[in-house]
């Protein structure tokens, strides 16, 4: 009897309730309306990793989308992401390259030119430099350009000096020295997990998660719903 009840809860009631509650947008719409009444802009948080080719689609795509709607975009670079001890991790990395190329082309771009996955360690310095930028606009400019250079520019290798030059051009400052942002980057990963996600590129809008590289249209639609709601 207890086993049957547990089975019913686990197989039907809990997942069906999760589905049903996910469709209730009223509380989120109310929170967004309150933010706007208080003069606070709508905000999208994006958690991303430089070693993730999907980030090369998500960051510029979300930046365009938020800029067009005057929505604040906060970037949280990650060093740690994914599922611990995932046996499919290597296959995922390979597939992401091919899939991200197709997504990029579908969006009217040239596609990714890098043909091999990049390790998190190899590009950790980019996450440190990005996290060290205090101004959100600088952070966004650098992240977009670095991801473009890393994944979409066939001429770019992984040399620090090339990215440091990019950093100077875009922000007018030298990149942060060393790996001083380790604690802040760990907090980003912790914040991602505590808020209910595990992977890059994850966008959070009013508590709702989206894989940003493949759900840009849905994020735009949700933003428009919230803005329409606020004007009523």
């Amino acid at each position: 009897m207890i086993g049957s009840l547990r089975d019913y809860l686990k197989r039907r009631l809990v997942p069906s309730t999760v589905i049903a509650t996910s469709r209730r947008r009223g509380p989120a719409r109310w929170r967004m309306r309150c933010r706007q009444w208080l003069g606070q802009p709508l905000r999208v948080e994006l958690y991303f990793a430089f070693d993730d080719p999907y980030a090369a689609i998500a960051v510029p795509g979300l930046a365009r989308l938020c800029s067009a709607r005057k929505v604040e975009l906060r970037l949280y670079p990650l060093l740690q992401r994914g599922i611990a001890d995932d046996p499919a991790a290597d296959a995922r990395a390979l597939h992401a390259l091919q899939d991200a190329t197709r997504l990029s082309r579908r969006g009217g771009h040239t596609g990714l030119l890098r043909s091999e996955p990049v390790t998190a360690d190899a590009v950790a310095f980019l996450a440190h430099w990005c996290e060290a930028l205090a101004m959100p606009a600088d952070r966004l400019r650098f992240a977009s350009a670095a991801l473009e250079a890393l994944w979409c520019d066939g001429r770019s290798g992984l040399q620090r000096e090339a990215f440091a030059q990019l950093h100077r051009q875009l922000t007018g400052q030298l990149p942060a020295s060393g790996d001083a942002q380790g604690a802040a980057l760990a907090r980003n990963a912790q914040r991602l997990r505590q808020r209910g996600h595990w992977e890059s590129p994850a966008a959070c809008l009013a508590g709702e998660w989206f894989f940003a590289h493949e759900r840009l249209a849905q994020i735009a639609q949700r933003l428009d719903q919230y803005r329409v709601g606020a004007q009523v």
Binding site: R12, S16, D85, H197
Partner: protein, 214 residues
Amino acid sequence: MSHHHGPASATVEFFFSFRSPYSYLAAARAFALPQQYDIELVWRGVRPMAMRGQPLPLAKQLYILRDAAREADALDLPFGPMYDPIGEGVWRCLCVAEYAAEHDRLAAWVITAATAIWGRGVDVRRDDAFVELCRTAGLDSAACLMAIERSDYRERVECNTARLAELGHWGVPTFAFDGELYWGQDRIVDLEHALREAGHLRGASASPRRRVSA
């Protein structure tokens, strides 16, 4: 109808799990592909990730349910209440899929069973509900109850699961065409682009033929 041979040049392999909501969302469009493109769609029903050692943390389970609900709404497909068929429910559906493929009712069965699981909350482990689904799909319910015991059907499922791993993939729904893999119900558009690029779009005068095999 072919059984578990390697794909010919104009085949699309369709890897599907009854426990995957995204597989459910892909099913109708997948089975419609041979009407629009000159291809053979090869059915590959596989064991769910959770029944082949792939970790599925809670955050991912929740995300999948919520995202699939959004996508189902966009596709105007029923989603929720659901009943997780993991275990024997999955095996029943997979074995009957193999039987249905032999009787030209594969699409009807897959869509009927998946809609019941993900859109109506039907427990496919219950004989009464299961028999009703078989009838709805135009299948002989007594034969279906025998099919779920057939070891050769289970072996086919194991072969399909091994085939997915051999291709270097882990998730569903996945389509394999011309050496490339398309993972996700929202990647059918990319698959269709590749099919058009490869010249497989049917002409307006082409005669529709049944082109689904197991």
